[in-house]
């Protein structure tokens, strides 16, 4: 009797496992040519903007978008290796290089917001009220106040390095300078926990501010702090497997009037101010004026 029962159990278990496998095979059958790989920054995902835009795009066009959110540096590396179809990134110097080298085409301005320097309310380096962001960083360095860096080659990290270059200070390996090697959300959490300063895009900061009681905006408004997002199509000439039509469709969607209108109001209901400013068709030089 026991033997019979045990065999029955074994059969049941096998059948359940087999059903799971079969069910899995069915559900995973996503349409093939319809896939687009979008490599983008953590800020577009963590702010929730893509969660709003992508379903709309998918509904309009029937494409299936695989959003891979990594740092801008990694996103562009994926484009360079033909492992993504379209990029939405914010690291202008690196972007220009990518396009110049022929890996990306049709680079178009999508939107901007700005970077801000946040830090503990006590503000040990006394940077509050200082106009220039480079000056603020200099004061943080001079005060030996803890600064948390992304350290991940992202657009934010690239911007931070440009700002440090302006100050003439090499922060790497300094005791007060720590790198997380993680996304913006994680880095903000670390800064809040350790009461350090960090450079962040305003969108991510606003989106997760409710958990960051320890951090305040201490430096903002410097023209050097503009955070500009472009959409770039990966060059199909270099990589034949790139989904050309899908990539173009997504880029067109990002700069379309309808999408730009959504970007303009995104976040207003939740945070009281928009997280991004739509810029399609504008020139970079005119931003922030």
């Amino acid at each position: 009797m026991h033997r019979f029962k045990s065999t029955k159990w074994l059969i049941t278990l096998t059948v359940v496992a087999a059903l799971v496998v079969l069910g899995a095979a069915n559900v995973f059958a996503a349409p093939k040519q319809k896939n687009i790989i979008l490599a983008t920054t953590t800020s577009t995902q963590d702010s929730g903007l893509l969660d709003k835009l992508i379903p709309l795009f998918e509904k309009q066009t029937g494409y299936f978008v695989k959003t891979i959110s990594v740092g801008s540096g990694a996103a562009m590396k994926m484009g360079e290796k033909g492992e993504a179809d379209v990029l939405l990134v914010h690291s202008p110097d690196a972007e220009k290089k990518l396009v110049d080298e022929g890996y990306g085409v049709n680079r178009r301005l999508v939107m901007h917001n700005d970077f801000i320097i946040v830090g503990p309310a006590a503000d040990p380096a006394k940077i509050k009220g200082v106009k220039s962001s480079a000056e603020a960083l200099k004061m943080i360095a001079n005060a030996n106040a803890l600064f948390i860096s992304r350290g991940d080659n992202s657009g934010t990290h690239a911007k931070e390095k440009t700002l440090w270059a302006k100050t003439g200070i090499t922060p790497a390996k300094q005791k007060w300078y720590q790198e997380t090697g993680a996304g913006m959300g994680h880095t903000l959490n670390v800064a809040a926990e350790k009461k350090g300063y960090t450079l962040t895009d305003r969108g991510t900061y606003l989106a997760i501010r409710k958990n960051l009681a320890a951090l305040e905006i201490l430096n903002e408004g410097d023209a050097a702090l503009l955070n500009i997002y472009h959409v770039i199509e990966v060059n199909p000439v270099k990589w034949p497997k790139v989904n050309v039509a899908g990539s173009k469709a997504f880029a067109d969607f990002m700069v379309s009037n309808n999408t730009q209108a959504i970007i303009k109001t995104f976040g207003v209901d939740k945070y009281g101010s928009p997280l991004f400013f739509p810029d399609a068709g504008k020139k970079v030089e005119d931003l922030g004026k």
Partner: protein
Amino acid sequence: MELIIQGIIKAFELLISFDPEVMSITWLSLKISGTATFISLFFGVSIGTAVALTNFPGKRLVISIINTGMGLPPVVVGLFVTILIWRNGPLGFLEILYTPYAMIVAQAIIATPIVMGISLASIQNLPPNLRLQILSLGASRMQMVWVLIKESKLPLLAAVMAGFGGVISEVGASIMVGGNIKGYSRVLTTATVMETGKGNFDIAIALGIILLILAFLVNLLLTHVQQRQHLR
């Protein structure tokens, strides 16, 4: 502490309300890790048994490699699988990067050595005379192997639990080869990492608790099967 309580409350809210997104993420985790464990069971038990029952030069070396594989770091597996299945990589024609299939492959690679190592040890642990006994009763070689596997059911089910536990809780490889795509390849572990990154600690804790409940239920079922055998 308050945060953990909030997380627990959130977990129950999400569970009781059958939140569709959480339900689909949970179901996907179960499907992917279940399938991967199933695959690892096939390769793990067959190769493990074969190695245990045959004698060949270098056997100890092979066993050492299998035992090392039991501690295979998931991120390293994720990295290698990613490079292999990149669309311009050697297996790119499969077009499975950033799909649940890729996650199954990576997780099966992680679980297989675990299952293999435990089945190898459990078969080796049977009294050596048993084999001779079975053969002398007129059993064929295949019948003998089958009896041996049945004899070590108890540790083999432990192998299933260890393999499943290893992959359902794994995040490094899943996020790399799956991409954490919403509604498609987002599982409990990758969603937990993402929500933590967003600073939504209550949801992150809730997802963690759901993961624990899921692992507990699966192990409860397996333990039930295992201990039934034992009572015989």
